[in-house]
């Protein structure tokens, strides 16, 4: 894991990042929000998310894992697995 990938964010910061990525108001963003309900979580939105995670944390979101994500909670779980979501947030 690179130095960059040790950067940690809180759940609320992660939700704000995802809201910006998918062009949604941050107050609408929550773990149970389904991918189907997010217009901008399309093929281009998936690239935006990959770029954001690469740039901000230096972690690789593969195409396969990206396709398996069905809700915002899956992204949060992915961040947690990679050690970038702070536990006490």
């Amino acid at each position: 894991m690179s130095e960059k990938s040790k950067t940690q964010v809180s759940v609320s910061d992660a939700l704000a990042m995802l809201a910006e990525c998918f062009n949604l108001p941050v107050e609408d963003m929550h773990a149970d929000l389904q991918r189907d309900a997010i217009d901008d979580w399309d093929s281009m939105g998936a690239l935006m998310l990959m770029a954001e995670l690469d740039e901000r944390f230096g972690i690789e979101l593969t195409a396969e894992v990206s396709r398996e994500m069905t809700r915002i909670g899956d992204v949060l779980a992915f961040l947690k697995v990679h050690g970038v979501l702070s536990e006490n947030a």
Binding site: S43, M44, A46, L47, M50, A51, E55, T62, A63, S66
Partner: protein, 353 residues
């Protein structure tokens, strides 16, 4: 490890030719949902594309580019002893299109000619082969042509590819040069495990007549290709700089394969490259495959001032998966030419010239 430092050659000139037909991606007649088109255009950065009439091939575009370049350089056809044609859109499966181009360009029968089947990474690979041939001896002048017509193999119903890809031909002239320090550095890579990320499955000998009609057209896994690019290209830039013994500040231009503006911007940010040293031609030339490297140079860069020598890093990456770089020098005698294909005969085949 494929890292090569090849001395004793110079790039005499680079010439490009685009087809005359311009397609505006925002034209409602294309039939895609306007909001989808707006998003694709905003992200990929392709406002208009240049596409061939079905009677025009990559070889035709390259022929035009090479003819103009040889005229400008004053190169007699008999002075060229090798022709390399890099393409994934040949005129025929066989013979090699390079053989047809040898005849069309009036090159002598003492000229070596062969095709190289690479796409997005083709420009640095082609230069590497040409430089290695010069260095190996027996050659004084080599032509490296690189042309693609991706518009011919994208599905008209696939907006992710049809709105992105464009067509282009290029010709690059290389010759021996005994000036101290002349030459360039090359770094080449391959990872065939990602081949399915960008593939045209049908029509060749693995599956001559595919049952699935989709297999007649290019299939692109955009996420997989994006992931490959951001994983592989920044290390390629770093590796090339280290191998050439240069810093970012010592390179006058970083010329990317014009894949997608969003991807290029991300790569630039990740590698710390300043905007003013990364030419972009994708807005009005689209992603024309590997020749986009040449198009970005001829359309967006200016030749050196008298007495100046510029250092450009050329970066190709994509289908294969294949990626590579060339650190080249452009001296004040080098010629950069661009042609918008005006007057290019729409019904001229290989045997009509």
């Amino acid at each position: 490890m494929s890292q090569s430092n090849i001395g004793g050659f110079r790039i005499a000139g680079i010439s490009t030719c685009l087809p005359p037909m311009v397609v505006d991606n925002l034209d409602p007649a294309l039939g895609f949902p306007p909001e989808d088109v707006r998003k694709v255009v905003a992200m990929a950065g392709v406002r208009e594309r240049r596409v061939v009439d079905p009677s025009i091939t990559s070889a035709d575009l390259c022929h035009r580019a090479a003819t103009r370049l040889m005229e400008r350089l004053g190169w007699a056809p008999e002075s060229v002893s090798a022709l390399i044609f890099v393409t994934q859109t040949p005129d025929h499966f066989l013979p090699s299109t390079s053989c047809l181009l040898q005849q069309r360009l009036g090159l002598p029968d003492t000229c070596a000619a062969f095709d190289v089947g690479l796409g997005c990474s083709g420009y640095p690979y082609g230069l590497y082969i040409a430089a290695a041939m010069l260095r190996a001896g027996g050659h004084q002048r080599v032509l490296m042509l690189h042309g693609e017509t991706p518009s011919r193999f994208v599905s008209p119903e696939d907006q992710a590819t049809v709105l992105l890809f464009s067509d282009a031909g290029s010709a690059t002239a290389l010759e021996l040069d005994d000036t101290p320090g002349a030459g360039g550095q090359f770094v080449l890579h391959t990872d065939g495990s990602g081949a399915n990320g960008l593939i045209l499955r049908g029509g060749a000998f693995r599956d001559r007549e595919p049952a699935n009609p989709r297999h007649h057209f290019l299939e692109m896994d955009g996420a997989a290709i994006f992931n490959f690019t951001i994983k592989r290209v920044p290390p390629l830039i770093a590796e090339t700089l280290a191998f050439a013994g240069k810093t970012v500040a010592e390179v006058d231009a970083f010329v990317f394969h014009q894949s997608n503006r969003f991807i290029m911007k991300h790569l630039m940010k990740k590698s710390g490259l300043p905007d003013d040293r990364v030419p972009m031609s994708i807005e009005d030339s689209g992603n024309c495959g590997g020749p986009s490297v040449a198009v970005a140079m001829t359309r967006r860069l200016t030749p050196p001032a008298p007495g100046q020598r510029l250092h450009w890093m050329l970066l190709g990456y994509g289908v294969g998966l294949s990626w590579g770089s060339a650190m080249i020098q452009i001296d004040d005698r080098a010629v950069l030419l661009h042609d918008d294909g005006e007057g290019l005969s729409l019904n001229r085949g290989a045997n009509d010239e």
